[in-house]
Amino acid sequence: MIHCESFRTRFGVNADDPAVLEHLRACDRCLDFAAQQDPDVMFRALGGAEMMPPGGVDAFVDDVMTQVRVRSAEDTVHARPEQHWARRLAIAATIAAGVTGAAFFYSSDSTITPAVSRPVAAVATKTFATKPVVESYESQNATIVEVPGEEAGNDDVKIVMIFDENLPADL
């Protein structure tokens, strides 16, 4: 930083000189001198740099980063319904395609053979045979509902319902 004498010499020449302003903001005697010479510098003497928020910079930065993380988490949560929407659309499209295919299959089949002549049990067996059988299932995201058999005293689980977003749509 420049000395007082140098400041007083240079002040009259260029009050905007960064070195002059630096001295003005640090030296009280020269501030008095400068204010008498040029009152405009009175508020200029305050300067703008190196001010700390209440509580200090570290606490301030921590607060900001906490809020940033909260907002990021909120954004992630808000973004999820769009994924659900896309997933639901995919499932709906799969179901629609399946129903249309089945309708087409049955309608074309019925022209050849009357429906009444088809053995119902055989059709049902054929349908189940194409599906994979889940013997055991583990997932942290799944909700598994077990429904016991209707007969009294029978502890065997008859129906198991698995709700899991990660399951393939056709299972």
Binding site: D32, A35, P39, D40, A45, G48, D63, M65, V68
Partner: protein, 205 residues
């Protein structure tokens, strides 16, 4: 020192990445880099907010709001412009909005900050003291519009030239100079009215 050894000395050791590089890193998903940016800009942002708003707690809240807006809008930053100019624009927009809302709420100049000078001070004449100047400024600058005050602060305290202020505020340089002229005039009138001892300094000017 032999020339080959001299070549091995890094010419720019431990140089922190400049603002643009830091922004690129943040955009690539590095949240720690954002913390570095916040730490680097806190004092500047807070100081500008404090000077415009004149209240430490409000200035802190507004500074935090600025950084949250910065986080949300960092994707819009165009690296061909100076980062500080872009950041200052954000600060001034948020601070000016705050001041306008505050003014509409209060709708009156707070005159409770009138300073009391002792007889001893009066005998000694005007002895300029920094804390007192700060109080005087916070008191009389209330008569300025938020934009006038922002321009006055950026020019007089942040030492920004009118051309850069015009860039930050998105207006013409002549507009900045007009605001600055009017701000000074209003400040002098207020000083004359409420702090005649300081106004004497302007008497011969």
């Amino acid at each position: 020192m032999p020339a080959d050894l001299r070549l091995m000395i890094p010419t720019t050791p431990n140089v922190e990445p400049d603002d643009r590089k830091l922004v690129e890193t943040i955009r690539s998903g590095d949240a720690d880099a954002f913390e570095t940016l916040v730490r680097r800009k806190t004092t500047k942002v807070y100081a500008l907010c404090y000077r415009i708003i004149g209240n430490a707690e409000d200035a802190k809240d507004i500074s935090q709001l600025v950084f949250l807006k910065l986080w949300e809008n960092l994707g819009k930053y165009d690296p061909q412009y100076t980062f500080d100019t872009w950041l200052y624009r954000m600060v001034t927009n948020v601070a000016i909005d705050f001041m306008r809302n505050k003014q509409s709420r209060e709708n009156a100049v707070n005159s409770n900050l009138r300073l009391v000078r002792t007889a001893a001070d009066a005998e000694q004449g005007v002895v300029v003291q920094r804390k007192e100047i700060e109080n005087v400024f916070n008191d009389i600058a209330n008569v300025l519009s938020p934009k006038q005050k922002t321009i006055f602060v950026m020019n007089q305290m942040e030492d920004l030239p009118s051309a850069q202020i015009a860039k930050i505020l998105g207006c013409r340089e002549s507009t900045v100079r007009n605001h600055l002229f009017n701000a000074r005039k209003l400040m002098q009138e207020q000083l004359q009215k409420r702090y005649p001892e300081y106004a004497q300094l302007w008497r011969d000017k």
